[in-house]
Symmetry: C2
Subunit: 211 residues, 2 copies
Amino acid sequence: MKTLKIPEATIIRLSVYSRHLTDVDRKGIITTSSGEIADGVGVSPAQVRKDLAYFGEFGTRGVGYNVKDLRQHIMRILGLGVEWSVTLVGVGNLGLALSTYKGFRDRGFVITSIFDADPKKIGTKIEGVEVLPIEQLETVVKQNNTQIGIVAVPASVAQETVDKLIKSGVSAILNFAPIVLNVPPEIELRNVDLAVNLEVLTFNVCGQRCY
Amino acid sequence: MKTLKIPEATIIRLSVYSRHLTDVDRKGIITTSSGEIADGVGVSPAQVRKDLAYFGEFGTRGVGYNVKDLRQHIMRILGLGVEWSVTLVGVGNLGLALSTYKGFRDRGFVITSIFDADPKKIGTKIEGVEVLPIEQLETVVKQNNTQIGIVAVPASVAQETVDKLIKSGVSAILNFAPIVLNVPPEIELRNVDLAVNLEVLTFNVCGQRCY
DNA sequence: TTTGGATAGTGCTATAATTAACATACCTTA
DNA sequence: TAAGGTATGTTAATTATAGCACTATCCAAA
């Protein structure tokens, strides 16, 4: 298999396709087509085929795709064949919401440890997982061989938090703090900035006329 | 001012620039340059200049940019000169987290109404705002002339929720439900899918070798 | 067995976005 | 007042992404 660069947009769409296929499969549908998938997720049929073509041939010409098969393939491509151990740092309102978010476990992401700096929160249990003091982060994350860290701490301590996570051996970080983080290139980092999302909306609502 | 199409990536970066400039301004720094901004947010200087060039000339050749000025300009561009009335639908853990998120108010987004379907939650107050029954959504949102809706309900009721929001006159929607929504083209819609973000990470961690 | 309809896979074209290079303008200093 | 240094604004080139059209393949029905 060639290792040509895959656009990130393609990965995002694959993730959406797989979710769509899960729904379709649940309805008992056996076969689908690029056109149906396209309708279901709001892209063009050509785009669907193009995205899949990066990874191989999963359909049958003249027929379409087997729903279960294609779903399974995409899950594999996305690395969702196995369970992922996730650690969550920061148990504010957002951290609490993330720790109880059903969508994670459904897709194989299991929160195996939770940390916070606030003494009042330490020792409490969230969905069966005890909140530990931040000082134990390195030991526990190493022990569990956790690969993914979620950062839901205030911006002021976000950089030191990711530094700790990286020292502990995680290779991917999902950051919710509204700040630009410095990480070495081998660490995968994604930022979810809630305010930025609203600001893209306001720009578009202004019809790009405000300025 | 010409109305050429602005890339969405540019808007996202502008939002990040403005946040960066707020920090820089707070440090008492008067003047900055495209290079410094680039360093601060992790893009190239040319990118910074290009992004700004879509909207006008905000700097002085040979000198750089006045921090306060440039920040003000970008805020204007993003439509952040005024306060935005926002309504929140769904008071699960995520909705609760969003309703108390400081980053929104800081940037001029004020949650003026909150709705939920669960009778037990109705009447409770969150940050001084009373949770109202979903049946009152249309009336209240119209009354307040609210422009932005945040959807934090389960996927199964997300489509009917946005339908209600649109009937009530909102023009922009930020959706957290993991489902593809149908909205008319004049409505601005952005999706924040938490699981998708993790899946992009796992794909990259797998080094694109898993498949 | 052959033909028609349908749909995946693929190469090419066009569009968009990023990067790089250059010319312009401003401030400072001698 | 003139010259040098510096950083912007802008144009050109490169790269990346999406869209389209065509070809190959399969199934079903006559």
